[in-house]
């Protein structure tokens, strides 16, 4: 008996997964060759599960800026901005984000997870009401517990259910904050933001949108779902991350709230953690420039996403509802999901095995994320590997195989 014995149930489930020959927590790459290729167990492998939407992790300019900043300012800030001060890059990045979103204020956090923790706990507290989509990311659930607000969950992507629950609060004191995501990370579905914004207006609630997976992906200029849905004016707070489209690490929030700056001394996940190192800040700034200067990246990304999504559907695989850069294939049970995943990896295709409770409705998912940097040939190779493994596992009927003629 150790202090960790309380996790015996979880350990048993994880051991069962490992016994089948896979261990997602210890997947070790020998080398990363590019945004879309790595070496795994000595095999060249297509990376299709890394959220590297614009493929900027190896961008020569981003790397150059990171190297320059590291040489001139050092490897780290060794502390928080409250204690060790703000470097030039920190405020340049906040200025650039505010300008990009056309908002008055921006605040940078050290991870996207901390951005949600800081914002959710700082915006609402005891006596307030936090309305969460039931399929929210773990960082949103964790942030909801930090501030002490009353947390109410509404049915995933269901504005009517949200409305009903806000109506039940009529007459109760306290602020209401609705939290939704631009693109949901497991199935790649988007929030019905127009309808949610209407509910927000009618009920006098505030609205926060987490654009972690939609920044650089959706919208005319890549600002995300709020831009794509034409409801930016209704969104009071946008949270996002640097670790997907912008290819580094860190998080942020932008807002027009006039007193927003108070959050710098309210958010504990901002105050009591080391600020981002100069190299990370510099590459992120450059990636934000690229995101705006090279709209072709978004076009390439969506073309690749569409090709993979359509290809998998044509073969008869069950995918999420929308062709977004997250393409998830649902599996009938855990055993099949594990075997399928293992065979994909052995064939040189890396993607994510997603199992409950991380997934909605207890589904087992093979989750891919497409990049602008994938070549058409890589997408087609991935489809061939899916088709081959699917056939070997008796997954695809011959009719369906014919339907997927391109493969």
């Amino acid at each position: 008996m150790t202090i960790l014995a309380k996790h015996a149930g979880l350990k048993q489930a994880y051991d069962a997964l490992c016994e089948s020959g896979v261990d997602p927590a210890h997947m070790r790459f020998d080398a990363i060759l590019s945004p879309t290729e790595g070496v795994l167990d000595g095999r060249r492998t297509i990376l299709m599960g890394t959220n590297n939407y614009l493929g900027l992790t190896f961008d020569a300019d981003c790397i150059e800026k990171a190297v320059e900043a590291t040489r001139s300012q050092g490897t780290g800030t060794t502390g928080s901005r409250m204690a060790n001060g703000t470097y030039e890059g920190h405020w340049l990045l906040e200025e650039a984000l505010a300008k990009f979103y056309a908002r008055r204020h921006a605040m940078v956090f050290s991870t996207g997870y901390q951005a949600n923790l800081g914002m959710l706990s700082g915006l609402v507290g005891r006596g307030d009401h936090l309305m969460l989509d039931a399929d929210s990311h773990a960082s949103i659930y964790d942030g909801s517990r930090l501030g002490g607000a009353e947390v109410i969950r509404f049915r995933h992507n269901n504005p009517d259910d949200l409305y009903k629950r806000l109506r039940r609060l009529d007459g109760a004191p306290g602020d209401r904050l609705i939290v939704v995501e631009g693109i949901y990370s497991m199935l790649g579905d988007t929030a019905p933001l127009k309808e949610i914004a209407a509910v927000k207006r009618e009920t006098g609630a505030y609205l926060l949108v987490d654009e972690a997976h939609s920044l650089g992906v959706l919208g005319e200029t890549g600002r995300g779902l709020a831009e794509a849905a034409g409801v930016e004016a209704d969104v009071d707070f946008i949270v996002g991350t640097f670790s997907k489209s912008l290819g580094s690490v860190g998080g942020f929030c932008v807002s027009d709230s006039p007193d927003f700056d108070i959050m710098r001394i309210v958010c504990r996940p901002y105050m009591f953690t080391a600020s981002l190192p100069p190299g990370v800040v510099a590459s992120t700034l450059e990636a934000l420039v690229k995101l705006q200067a090279v709209p072709e990246l978004r076009a390439d990304l969506m073309r690749n996403a569409r090709r993979l999504y359509d290809g998998l559907q044509a073969m008869g695989f069950q995918t999420g509802p929308e062709a977004n850069p997250i393409v998830a294939v649902s599996m009938p049970d855990q055993e099949t999901a594990v075997v399928f995943w293992k065979m994909l990896i052995e064939a040189g295709l890396y993607l994510n095995l997603a199992v409950p409770p991380a997934t909605p409705n207890n589904v087992m998912l093979l989750r891919t994320s497409v990049s602008a940097a994938h070549t058409t040939a890589q997408i087609d190779t991935a489809l061939e590997i899916f088709a081959d493994v699917g056939r070997r596992l008796g997954f695809l009927t011959s009719d369906r195989r014919r339907a997927g003629g391109a493969v």
Binding site: A134, S144, E150, V151, I152, R153, R155, R165, R168, L169, D170, G171, A172, P356, P357, N361, N362
Partner: protein
């Protein structure tokens, strides 16, 4: 005044409490798809074999039926049918008419 109000609630709850258990049983049956025997000490997870998704669907069905929202921290405290009855009673009496 406050005391009178509370006394009235206790009376209502005694009457409601009996029918509420029957209503909850039928909601369980809808979610689980088979008849169940429940009492106040029935453990929702252990005795009824519900996983976290089942519990969530069940809670949402209860919320619809009674037109209430059960906050997450309250859900976390509910282990038995009796706990659930008390939570529903509290939330209904706390809701402005």
């Amino acid at each position: 005044m406050r005391q009178d109000h509370q006394l009235a609630l206790v009376d209502n709850n005694a009457a409601d409490g009996r029918s509420m258990r029957a209503d909850i049983a039928s909601i369980f049956e809808q979610v689980l798809g088979h008849p169940v025997q429940i009492g106040d000490n029935t453990d929702i997870v252990e005795d009824l074999g519900m996983d976290s998704l089942g519990v969530m669907n069940f809670v949402m069905a209860i919320e619809d039926f009674y037109d209430i929202s059960i906050p997450l921290d309250r859900i976390a405290q509910i282990e038995t049918v009796g706990d659930l009855v008390h939570a529903v009673e509290d939330l209904r009496s706390g809701t402005p008419a």
